[in-house]
């Protein structure tokens, strides 16, 4: 398996309401070849603190339909420790989706850099709250 740059998105659902509503926006990005979803896992914590994780094929049918087309192949990148670490941080009665995406767009960009005689020296992720603070 050869993947481009990988980033994990963590999407929270405070009311424990998994739904398929973010799927269409993701589907547009996947279809456009901008990103590829290479791993996906849902983690829920009940109000009594019980933690459960769900693979995509364990979702309810109506939600599965929304997500199923997004994922071509699920790579086993998210590990048990990720589930434990994120579950520890999770408020009771809430849930999160872990989305591991490949930045497909970066490959042609890297090629263009190489073809121009440039060097890809690195990329630095700037957290959203830092950007918000600097642009406020």
């Amino acid at each position: 398996m050869s993947l481009g740059p990988i980033e994990m998105f963590v999407v929270g659902f405070p009311d424990n309401g998994f739904n398929g509503e973010i799927a269409p926006a993701l589907a547009d990005l996947v279809e456009a070849g901008t990103i590829r979803v290479v791993d996906l896992l849902f983690i829920a914590k009940d109000t009594d603190g019980t933690v459960a994780s769900f693979e995509i094929n364990e979702l309810d049918d109506d939600i599965l339909g929304a997500y199923d087309t997004l994922v071509d192949e699920v790579h086993n990148l998210i590990g048990e420790e990720d589930v434990e670490d994120f579950a520890d941080e999770l408020e009771p009665g809430s849930s999160i989706a872990l989305l591991v995406v490949e930045h497909v767009w970066a490959k042609p960009f890297a090629d263009a850099v190489a073809d121009s005689g440039g060097q890809w020296l690195g990329s630095i992720h700037i957290p959203r709250d830092v950007v918000d603070e600097l642009t406020a």
């Binding site: 398996m1 050869s2 993947l3 481009g4 740059p5 990988i6 994990m8 896992l41 693979e55 699920v74 086993n76 990148l77 998210i78 590990g79 048990e80 420790e81 990720d82 589930v83 434990e84 670490d85 591991v100 490959k107 890297a110 090629d111 190489a114 060097q119 890809w120």
Partner: protein, 99 residues
Amino acid sequence: MLRRRGGLVRAAATTAVVAGTAGAVRHHQETKYAAKDQAAYEEQMAAQQPEVVYAEAPAPAPAGGDDLAAQIQNLANLKAQGVLSEDEFAAAKAKLISG
């Protein structure tokens, strides 16, 4: 699906630790070896530009005994976590020792 034992986030965090303990000279190589998926990506890059990562890196500074042992231990930890393959570990260790 049976999930891997380790954690993707922890593996990524380990990369930063390794890069911090190694000298700036080896930064590119350590980073390359530390994250398996990143490595796959950089192998593509290296294949296009084989000179960039290796040829331009100056000779590494001689490592002290404890420092070398610590760096090898770091590599061993990465291998134990499944971040490094056997081959990658051997190659990285050889570089440390010969450096």
